[in-house]
Symmetry: C2
Subunit: 214 residues, 2 copies
Amino acid sequence: MSQGKSDRGSETRELILVTAERLFAEHGVEAVSNRQVSEAAGQSNNFAVGYHFGSKEELVVAIVRRHSESVERRRAEMLAEIAGSPDLRDWMSCLVRPTTEHLASLGSPSWYARFIAQVTTHPSWRERVSKEVGSSRALQQIIESVFQLVPRLPEDVRQDRGNMSRLLIAHMCAERERALHEGTAPPRSTWESTAAGLVDALVGLWLAPVSARR
Amino acid sequence: MSQGKSDRGSETRELILVTAERLFAEHGVEAVSNRQVSEAAGQSNNFAVGYHFGSKEELVVAIVRRHSESVERRRAEMLAEIAGSPDLRDWMSCLVRPTTEHLASLGSPSWYARFIAQVTTHPSWRERVSKEVGSSRALQQIIESVFQLVPRLPEDVRQDRGNMSRLLIAHMCAERERALHEGTAPPRSTWESTAAGLVDALVGLWLAPVSARR
């Protein structure tokens, strides 16, 4: 393939990814056909999604990867900075900020926070996308370090609070992104103050005493 | 209308509601047509959903109402029991347990927790369903009382933590319901221990100090 043709191919791929993400966030992944994505991306070939991505599932995964690479890079950098820190706040920051900083870098309107909240809650996409996002090595290292910082918590409570942290970050970011886009005032004025609020809350959540078990 | 005919009508309505809730939780609300719901509910008339509910939106709202009446009743009872309590834990329990106890009462498999998490995250259903759920008088009273118990928190932090509480309860219940149904071990063994874990975490979240504002 000549260089020019390959460039055009990768431009088309990028255009389809951006268009699909917006349409999925606006209308729901199920409600938008591959044909509608191709048309909205200005492709004369209605099968452009099929040609470039195969299936809708692969398109969904490609949208996730487009962002998760950037989030993962930030996370690895932050992780290197706080290595060995005994301060739970540093680790919560490392859970929260790679995502909020990535979202801030997208400008407004962004669509990714709503897209990812939707697909991780949807029966048809949840498993595939969770596998993609959960495969982050940096994320696993953070969770292991957090577990070591709260040695007195029973194993099931640690697991539970790990799940709570993930859900809280994903859905708070989605609600903020929606509020920004719809022009309804979100409680926090910036992504940085959103991050600060999440870090405070998560530190409290992880340090909360465990009430007597029945 | 004769009594017998009216009874049959209300039985059919109930059958459609139960069937639709399961299909929506299994496949996604968008992916299931009104016709498929009618057929799966054993209706010879393919327009049974239209006849009994009007539109899919009205069907979605009717599913929510079928459960929210029971949740609201429990919440009003708990609210009466703890009226005036100065203990934040009581109020968190009143936020969490009406939902977890309702879900426990449904037996397994239940579908409602996954259904509600999905529709409140979906661009097409979110607003209508949030309005329905948010109209709870008891819930508003709880939130107001919680706000009074944390007088030093800035207004935006209170709003933020109120949103966090709502999202945490909804999505943790959905994940537990899914894990129960799929036979993958959820961290907590019972709905009651799930509730206890949520109450502990939420107390920590609300009492967390607010870091210096930038």
